[in-house]
Subunit: 680 residues, 2 copies
């Protein structure tokens, strides 16, 4: 390992790049940028070594790196060049930074590649997400100077540009997007045949997708998660990786049907249904993109790359594909693989040549959104077994570890979103989101979206004065029913116990069943009825049966981590999820809400080509389980109706809360294989 | 060479394919189709060896082929298979034909690959052009059966189709045209997941561009030559290579300007000029394509490949590119290279996924039409020196041999097309196209387009009764002026000789110059004026100076062959072209009209990928000469004003006609290098 001292060999200096850890030996005099490229280390360079862009900054990590056998010193780079001095004087460069295009290797080095080189005065918003996504985008900027046309060598201007991109940037086989052809000559002439090209390295080879006069180092991307209910868009700075604006809007397809299946029905019943819904979602995406770009201070024509995710039906409708085959078995996707095509093909308000990427769908009911969430949460990267659940009208479920993933979708219906519940409503200000019931008096305490205090705390009346208390949202109904169970109002089978009526007037008979009056506000009475409990039981049993099916497939009895994705998952309390038996037993501290994981995955695929390759590979390898045809699904479903359920033991849950009527002697037989934990 | 007798080696049978001449050794039991593919011999197969399509027919050439060391016998193929018998019974197969997918090699063979396998009842028109173009199209049909979707393996239908095209047909990396995505599921279900795919092998890899239910072996292509005046379209049967319909129409851009430069001016003066002209030409092309397809009995959606050629300005306008840079030096082309893109990009009335190919342009005034003519006439394939001239508003000139080509454009102006001539008109019924003048009496005889008899023959009056005699077209004015020169009315400098007025009243004074009265008809007097002669002199001097410049560049004093392309070239008499000095001296029998060579070249590029590669390579290698900046152009131009001209000797011309005032002692000095004749 101690081979650092300078010999006279051809490649006598060891250079280690961080954070990638890639290393190689290089001859003295090699520019650091060239060394990085030869190792596949991504260092941005827009100007191609002209010392204009300053994006290729690096930093020498000084010290003895015994493990690598490297003594790294700043003076192992040749002296600061005139190019660097000029750049430092003109645009500023930190003392410890060098331009890798100009800095020559003269000794062993450990090079830090900063992940976010701040150069020009960029618009950076506060709301940038905390997660740092390593950048290696498919679309990059390349500055070239091609000089004026030569009458004696009448190669077309576009062809000369292509030749320069091949010679100077190595974009062998590059083609020009047809939409740009008519603009090349004019753009070339704005700043004397000096231009910055945007090149997208598509699966079929490099494509010129943008051209700007002169030198330029601004480039933006768009990541969009098209949900059945909500569409969320993020504008990312492709040069820094930062998310500089995020915006959301309701999916206007709601007017064609609240849930997915009603939209598929609409398509089946109406000859122009698909066209109308496609137009609606595209229009909404365009409006949203415009708004997000406006917030970011970015023009739409600076956005040359976009990534879209969504469930299979949203995915198909957005692409203009009739989703009707997804409405019945065998739930055949028209296309499941990833797509890469120009924005104009789907009428996006981006430049016609901007590139669109859609992540692959996993199965007929497990979409590109689930793929994106998988990419974001990376169960396949971990030795621990992770259960990743995105709850919506369908629950998309991914389970597994680095040893393999299985996926399924469960037909939970819309109950978790507050629909089909007598007192239910969407999560919005005024909705009850938290519930506690006194075990003795059966009196409730509530918390409302938009108010910071509980109903038994001072200032509650003022806090809800504007919104009122209008209904119970998904997480509220989960807590209400879980608390009803914990306080004995509900039995383990989900029956509202009439004897509780003796303890509290809130429990009242409704014909042959009982209900629990949760809240009264200005004449509005919010009641949890037996039917409401049944709706939640059906939903949670469907979810749990799907999860259990996957655990069977993996030979698992427990999971190490549970990640709840999506809006619903963001608000749900892990313990209550367990009380209801929504999820299997797990240490509550390992149950996490992961927010809009699909959106995060979309941004990852936007900013780094390796993530695209990764999720494409993972999706091909995921084992798909179709709940509709699995005999055991029905069995699990029936058993999962109880609270928490009759399928599993809940030791973690028992430690976390006092469960009423604990059931001893639970069935603990069967193989306790725990794949995916070997490497812990 | 005598290695034919069967050994026991691994690859013990020598197989020679004709007409390609490709040969190789193959193990016994190899299907002939596989052997052909491994050698790159193109044998069509639509069904992939299922014995359905019958397109892969071959024939054994029996006999001893001593030169190749092969004794070829029909029984060197294993016995007729059940597949072949079934095909023969069902659809018919000539006795001496075998299906190469089923026929197994069992001995040395010479295999004839028929170039036009007639299978189904195809529409074949009489007007099919005589030239046989060897076929190896970029778009091919591939039949696959993928079976219904499997609920437990939820790969998208499109992805399953792709997998089959990769596995069964080797289309690795194939992508689906976005425009097809929304239709794949429906088409797959028409005939139980049996489909015929059309796959285009683009420069960036294979693309699925068409999909038809069930088995299909019809596929058509469109070749279009967009001239400034006329647009010509040909519909070709891609399965046989035949041209099954041809149609032409006037270029509607004429309303924006008669000649090219006036159209460029229109673009420069009118903000929406380019858009209007682009729309006009595209609309005309669509109408024409529809008409030609109708004549061929072909639906537009069966046309999945189209090739377009045109001069640089037509090329740019058709592609939607502003041609204004072509209006002034350095005449910069926006794009000169070949393009391959979907038909929808330019609003063609073909399927949106149909592929368009445009041939490369050679230089700012030497377009894709000249490239296509070069491809058709192949000067680069011949050891002889060929001069290829396409005369229009600009003359596009290609000169050279297999040792290299040079190209230039000369600004001939529109005189050759009958414009700027007092008695001129376009070539149309009623126009004088042939002229003879009696050397003694100076009386003319004429022939008119649409009439089969000369004016001094019986029946002339009746023949022109309907049309009348309305003007003189391009070839007519050439002959008129040449005959005036040969009969002494014109001197070698192009001056109408006043003394001739003494011999004939047809020569009359017009102020200070004279004119020749060629014809009178119903009050219309057609006169060749001194100004007319000057206009032709300027045009022919420009053409000749361009030719001479290229001959200089090639170090040539003479050429072996002259090919005149385009409508003008079709009617011109080689001897008169020499009398005027339009072309250099050449044996008249080696001066040929080659008709619409550009259209032929377009059809070649449509039907065979090798021709695309060939012309792309040749165009890159052509040496371009810009007449506008060549000092000697002016000198040649001045010298070329005389009849025939003062630049060259015309021994062939002198042998063909009695030239007045032969000039002895012509300058014969200078190097007599004759490149391009070494191999004769």
């Amino acid at each position: 390992m101690n081979e650092t001292s300078g010999g006279a060999g051809q490649h006598d200096h060891l250079v280690l790049f961080m954070p990638s850890g890639k290393r190689g030996r290089f001859a003295a005099g090699t520019p650091v940028l060239d060394a990085a490229r030869s190792l596949g280390v991504y260092i941005e360079s827009v100007c191609g070594g002209r010392g204009i862009c300053g994006r290729c900054q690096i930093q020498v990590a000084e010290g003895k790196f015994a493990k690598h056998g490297i003594e790294s010193r700043a003076d192992h780079l040749a002296g600061v060049t005139a190019t660097e001095t000029r750049y430092r004087d003109k645009r500023g460069l930190a003392d410890d930074r060098r331009l890798s295009c100009a800095a020559l290797i003269e000794g062993d080095l450990v090079i830090d590649v900063p992940q976010d080189v701040q150069v020009t005065s960029q618009v950076v918003r506060k709301r940038a997400e905390s997660r740092r996504i390593p950048r290696d985008p498919l679309t990059r900027l390349a500055y070239v100077e091609i000089g004026p046309p030569d009458i004696d060598h009448p190669l077309g201007d576009t062809d000369r540009l292509i030749a320069a991109l091949v010679t100077e940037w190595g974009y062998e086989g590059i083609v020009v997007d047809t939409a740009l052809l008519g603009r090349v000559q004019e753009i070339l002439r704005v700043e004397g045949f000096k231009v910055t090209a945007a090149v997208h390295e598509s699966p079929t080879g490099p494509i010129l997708t943008g051209l700007f006069p002169g030198f330029r180092d601004r480039l933006y991307g768009l990541a969009v998660d098209i949900g059945s209910t909500t569409i969320a868009a993020h504008v990312c700075d492709m040069m820094s990786g930062r998310t500089i604006a995020s915006s959301g809007t309701a999916n206007p397809q709601i007017r064609f049907g609240e849930d997915l299946m009603s939209r598929v029905s609409y398509v089946m019943m109406n000859p122009d249904g698909q066209v109308a819904m496609t137009a609606a979602v595209r229009e909404a995406v365009n409006t949203l993109a415009e708004r997000a770009a406006g917030q970011a201070g970015v023009a739409l024509d600076e956005i040359l790359e976009a990534v879209f995710v969504g469930n299979p039906i949203m995915h198909h409708l957005f692409l203009g594909i009739d989703p009707k085959e997804l409405g019945f078995a065998p739930f055949a996707l028209a296309v499941s693989g990833p797509l890469d095509f120009p924005a104009r093909e789907i009428g996006l308000a981006l430049p016609p040549s901007a590139r669109v990427y859609t992540l692959p769908c996993i199965a007929g009911h497990v979409g590109a959104d689930a793929a994106a969430a998988t990419l974001a949460e990376g169960p396949h990267r971990s030795p621990e077994t992770t259960l990743l659940v995105d709850v919506g009208t369908n629950a998309e479920i991914i389970l597994g570890s680095e040893l393999g993933l299985v996926a399924a979708s469960s037909p939970t219906g819309p109950a978790f979103e507050g629909a089909e519940i007598s007192c239910g409503q969407r999560a919005a200000p005024g909705a009850i989101e938290r519930v506690r019931i006194d075990r003795q008096t059966l009196e409730p305490r509530i918390k409302v979206i938009g108010a910071d205090v509980w109903s038994d705390e001072e200032g509650f009346a003022e806090a809800v004065e504007l919104t009122g208390v209008t209904g119970v949202c998904g997480s509220g109904i989960i807590e209400a029913i879980a608390e009803m169970f914990l306080s004995g109002i509900l039995d383990a089978d989900g029956v509202i116990d009439g004897t509780a009526a003796e303890k509290s007037a809130r429990v009242q008979a409704n014909g042959r069943t009982f209900s629990y009056r949760l809240w009264e506000d200005k004449g509005l009475v919010l009641t949890v009825s037996q039917a409401d409990v049944r709706a939640i039981q059906l939903a949670k049993a469907a979810l749990y049966a799907g999860v259990k099916l996957l655990m069977d497939r993996q030979g698992l009895e427990t999971v190490d981590r549970i990640k709840l994705a999506g809006a619903f998952g963001s608000y749900i309390d892990p313990v209550y999820a367990m009380v209801l038996g929504l999820v299997p037993d797990c240490d509550p501290k390992n149950i996490k809400s992961v927010g809009n994981a699909a959106g995060t995955g979309a941004r990852m695929a936007l900013l780094n080509r390796d993530y695209r390759e990764e999720i494409e590979r993972v999706v091909r390898q995921i084992e798909k389980v179709e709940t509709a045809t699995e005999a055991r699904f029905q069995e699990h479903f029936v058993n999962a109706m109880a609270f928490p359920n009759k399928v599993d033991a809940f030791p973690n849950l028992a430690r976390a809360v006092d469960l009423p009527q604990p059931k001893p002697g639970r069935d603990g037989s069967g193989p306790q294989r725990r794949r995916g934990r070997r490497n812990r």
